[in-house]
């Protein structure tokens, strides 16, 4: 099964109020992206990692692994930003290629550093949310903020279906392997094609059956289910407010100092 989905159910922060968690992640995200300050990004990265790993109990190695996914991508793309082709050499590096230079400047490098840190901090905000909050809770928050029903219901059904289909795909795959469906490259590809086709048909059938089953429980076009995460307590709200204020103050300081 998908490991990132599994982790949130085991997080120690799972039963904390999802509204607060989401609000905190979103506030931090907005502040990071809008200030783009290096110092602030480091602060948020540290705070979010602390919350996810130390407070939430997510395995540190797993967490680093997840962080490395966007990092690799960022590193490659920022290379393209830092390094320029230009007729005049710049401050850091200059490799002449004909009458042109492959060159980079300090300000360019600074920009890249800023970019990478902002992006990582933003990603850490989202990881904090996904690694501590199960999908049904997130859907509940979306409902509270008046996200259209259609989107929420689709997300709910898709989320459930991912696992239903994975399970079917897994069983089909096993049964193919048991019958030597992967004995060479050719049969492997053919088996894969067949698996896809069968999976599509099964998915359609499952969807139909699930619709019937929902109808038989008086489904009338709107999926209404019990929502019972408690309202946030005064203490939680106060904590959120204080943390957000500190963050804003830090953002203002960083902007003032220009770091």
């Amino acid at each position: 099964m998908i490991i990132i989905d599994k982790l949130c159910y085991y997080s120690k922060l799972r039963y904390q109020n999802p509204y607060i968690k989401t609000a905190w992640a979103m506030i931090a995200l907005i502040i990071t992206v809008s200030t783009r300050s290096i110092a602030l990004s480091v602060l948020i990265l540290a705070a979010m990692s602390y919350l996810t790993v130390i407070k939430g109990g997510t395995n540190l190695r797993r967490y680093c692994h997840f962080m490395a996914i966007p990092f690799a991508f960022l590193f490659l793309s920022s290379f393209a930003i830092a390094v320029n082709f230009s007729k005049t050499p710049l401050s850091v590096l200059s490799l002449p290629i004909g009458s042109w230079y492959l060159t980079a400047s300090f300000s360019g490098l600074y920009l890249v550093l800023q970019l990478i840190l902002t992006a990582l901090a933003a990603v850490s905000c989202l990881y904090f949310l996904t690694l501590t909050t199960p999908m049904p809770d997130i859907l509940m928050v979306l409902k509270k903020v008046r996200c259209p029903y259609l989107i929420i219901e689709m997300m709910m059904l898709i989320y459930r279906f991912i696992f239903v289909l994975l399970d079917i795909a897994y069983q089909l795959r096993i049964s193919q392997i048991c019958r030597l469906g992967n004995k060479d490259k050719r049969t492997s590809w053919k088996a894969l094609g067949e698996l896809m086709a069968v999976l599509l048909v099964r998915a359609m059938k499952r969807a139909n059956e699930m619709y019937d089953a929902m109808e038989s429980r008086c489904y009338n076009g709107v999926i209404s289910v019990l929502e019972e995460t408690g309202v946030a307590t005064k203490k939680e709200i106060a904590l959120l407010a204080i943390c957000s204020l500190c963050l804003t103050a830090a953002a203002l300081c960083c902007a003032y100092l220009g770091i």
């Binding site: 159910y9 049904p136 709910m156 459930r160 089953a213 109808e215 038989s216 008086c218 289910v225 019990l226």
Partner: protein
């Protein structure tokens, strides 16, 4: 006089691909009964169940709910489905939510109950079906038996008059089978009419008030477990075994060890008791 809750008059059903799954079913379902449906794979049990709750509309014939003929308008269907609940054969087909509590609450929410009432009912079914231990797990982490328990709670929470369980014991280990059977008995005790389909003749014989035999889209025999399972010819035609308690009892009667006028034992425990009584009698002599 027992009240008829559902009646089917000569219903037939054909799937889009032309498979004629039901070929004229007549049956009267009495309130508060425990009815077991038996029959080979593909004999039409699941199809019939889907007709009972208005998911399938029969091509011919009429169904009645408390003397009111089924009509396939929204308000009737909603009323019908709030009274006749189905637990599907495959729980993966039924569970649509990742959260156990939300999943169970769905039916009750659709009945338009007050939130407090829904909560109370969800709590009660979670407790009744012993789901408490895994209620916080997402549905995709549950085992087959646990999913089945949730699927039953899904329907129980709607407080129906008739509950239809399509192979409740399929894919369950003995422990979960016992749990599920226990809950089915519990429902029956509360006066809910319980319909199950099963391939387990021993269980059907021991448990049911009435047994219905399906064969190729028709009912070939129905009645008390004793009459149905004593009909050797029909059993042979449907490839069913005689329940072991009854078979042993008949054999022992034939050997003259038992008095055939005794009420036939419903399960092996009762048979054991008979044997016990005999040996006591013979030592007394």
């Amino acid at each position: 006089m027992e009240e008829t809750i559902i009646k089917a008059e000569n219903i037939t059903f054909t799937y889009e691909d032309g498979t004629q799954a039901l070929k004229g079913i007549d049956i009267e379902i009495k309130k508060g009964r425990k009815i077991a449906f038996l029959g080979a794979n593909g004999s039409g049990k699941s199809t019939f169940f889907l007709c009972l709750n208005g998911i399938h509309q029969p091509s011919n014939g009429t169904l009645y709910y408390r003397a009111e003929p089924y009509h396939y308008k929204k308000d009737f269907l909603l009323k019908l489905r709030s009274k006749v609940g189905i637990v599907f054969q495959d729980p993966d087909r039924q569970l649509f939510s990742a959260s156990v509590r939300q999943e169970i609450s769905f039916g009750a929410m659709n009945l338009g109950l007050a939130i407090e009432e829904v909560k109370a009912r969800v709590d009660r079914s979670i407790e009744d079906l012993e789901i408490t231990a895994f209620q916080e797990k997402p549905t995709h982490f549950l085992s087959g038996g646990q999913k089945k328990q949730v699927a039953i709670a899904d329907i129980l929470v709607m407080d129906p008059e008739v509950i239809v369980l399509d192979e409740p014991a399929a894919a369950l280990d003995p422990k979960h089978t016992t749990i599920v059977n226990h809950h089915i008995d519990q429902m029956a005790k509360k006066g809910i009419t319980v319909l199950i389909s099963t391939h387990d003749v021993d269980h059907a014989y021991a448990w049911a008030d009435e047994v219905v035999l399906f064969h190729e889209g028709k009912i070939i025999k129905s009645g008390t477990p004793k009459t149905v399972f004593s009909d050797e010819k029909t059993l042979l035609a449907t490839n069913l075994q005689k329940p072991s308690a009854l078979r042993l009892f008949d054999d022992l009667c034939a050997k003259g060890l038992f008095d055939p006028s005794l009420p036939p034992p419903r399960n092996l425990e009762e048979l054991e008791q008979y044997i016990h009584d005999i040996s006591k009698r013979s030592t007394a002599l």
